[in-house]
């Protein structure tokens, strides 16, 4: 945590210096045409952990993981480490009915998918977001 705190402080100073308004570490983004403006933390966790399989707008959700931020994301979202999240998915994968999020190699790949698919939802470094996507929840810790 000390490490992250260090980075947050560093990022904060960079962001402030760059003149942006973003204060969190990660941003959950959706396609602008998804009809979703904002998500609560609970809604987000239900989507990312397979409890809810559609977006509030009714569109089928395509959930995406960004591998480098996965640990930080789930810690920030539900307070669980990767080992627990993996064990959870292992149980569900056994039934074959609920699939875990698709794993992409970094924030940029996630950004590209969300920008191109209306049902997609993922999380990225706020620094990489652009106008093609809409940030619906910022996770700050």
């Amino acid at each position: 945590m000390k490490r992250y705190a260090h980075r947050i402080a560093l990022l904060g100073s960079v962001l402030l210096a760059s003149g942006t308004a973003q204060a969190g570490d990660l941003a959950i983004i959706v396609h602008p045409s998804s009809g979703v403006d904002a998500l609560t933390r609970e809604e987000a966790s239900h989507l990312f952990l397979g409890r809810v399989k559609t977006l509030p707008s009714g569109e089928r959700a395509i959930v995406l993981d960004s591998v480098p931020q996965r640990d930080a994301f789930y810690r920030g979202l539900v307070g669980k480490g990767l080992a627990e999240i993996n064990a959870y998915w292992a149980r569900l994968r056994f039934s074959g009915r609920t699939q875990p999020p698709e794993q992409l190699q970094d924030s940029r790949a996630v950004l590209e998918r969300v920008a191109n698919e209306p049902g997609a939802i993922g999380y990225v470094d706020p620094l990489v977001t652009d106008k093609r996507v809409r940030t619906v929840l910022k996770l700050d810790y």
Binding site: R51, V78, K80, R91, S95, R97, T98
Partner: protein, 513 residues
Amino acid sequence: MRRTTLLILFFAGLVGVMVAMGSTVLVAREERQRLQQNLVELMQTVERTASVAAFARDEQLASEVAQGLMRNRAVARVVIREGGRDLVAHGPGTDLRPSPALPVLARPLMSPFSPQEQVGELEVWPAIAKIEQDAGAYSRFIAIILALQLVSVVASVAWVVLNVVTRPVKKLSDELHHLRIGSGELIVLPAGHGHDEIGRLTGDINALIARMEGLLTAERELRAEREESERKFRLIFESAETGIFTLDSGGQLHDWNPWMTRTLGLPTDRHGSACSLRTLLGDDASRLDALMVRVLADQRPAGADFALTGRDGSSTLWLQLVLNPLPGNLMQGIVNDVTEQKQAEAHAIAMAERDALTGLLNRRGIEHRLTDALRALHGQGLALMLLDLDGFKQVNDTYGHEAGDRVLATVARQLEGVIRRTDLVARLGGDEFVVVLQSLESSDTARFIAAKIVSTLSRPITLADGQSAQIGASIGVAYTESRHDIGDALMRRADEAMYEAKRAGKSQYRFAS
């Protein structure tokens, strides 16, 4: 003895049945609780997966969980709920009725990611019939085990009691039952019981028998001794030449010995008839009463002599009676026949009043009787004659003392021949005689008799050697009709009259004035 064993079996069986019944109930309850606990643990095992299934609303995973649970035969139905709906429900839903003993178990399913958020519920319905069946089977098994154990324990106890206690005790009891006390027999120690209670009991019984036999022997000896002494006493009592009896204060005889029967004519049977000593003594009964009163009052022995008219009516039986006080107003008495002593005594008295030569009364005898005769005077006359032989001294001097004695004896016979039966004759000493005439109508009879004596004695007396002696008699007569006259005075008056007759020429009589 078989009863003891049967009783042990009966009570042990009773207790066994009760224990088995109680244990059946307890075991069934325990088994139910155990199965219920098993179900709870089973639910805990699958809880996490069920939570995940509920969270992810994954029917497939929920179904897997439910099927896994249903494999347990104690589970009848499994329901996993998510929100308000059944995510999955396995097992028959209609014909299951929860029982108070085995309620439906429900567990809330919390979100795997936030422990405060409930995402569903896991419900497990116990298979009541199966559980009851299992519990019943188990408790029956336990009951059978218990029963078997009990039967074996009871059988062992019964066997031990029978062989260690009952049989030896029965053997002892039989031996004791057939034992003849006094024969010197003892009880045989049952084999193998030398050092236990049976052995000690045997020893004690034998010691008791020995002591009892000792006591019996002592008792027997004592009884023989007592019988012997009793026999001696009875012999003394029965063969005593003395009357022995017991008497109550009413003069009634209670017991008496054979001497009494023989001598007094008492009945032999002492218990049949009442026999009164008072009646026996007749006129002397009042003297017996006085004697009894004295003995009982003073509580000291006392005695008296009683005269009894004999059974033939003529002879007199003299009895000396001594009474001894006994407790309870009774008296023990002794009777002796003293007739012979009394007769000897009377004879001695008679002899003391007789003149040895003539057999007539002597001076003492006549004085004694004269006093009595004077006292008995009652309107009649009494004459006292004093008689002195004339010429007796010459006979004595001429023919000797023997001739003199013969003369005296002859005179005595002649005097007795002259007087009447009621009259008295005495020799005072020497040639002096006294005649007392009683019951005289007047002094004429006295004159007549005096004249007859004078004439009789003037006849010659034949002596032993054929010679004859001539004597005579001078008589002085004192006549009285008064009972207050004294013998001595009469004697002096007769004496004076006799001297007057001598002076007047002898061989005649003179009346005192």
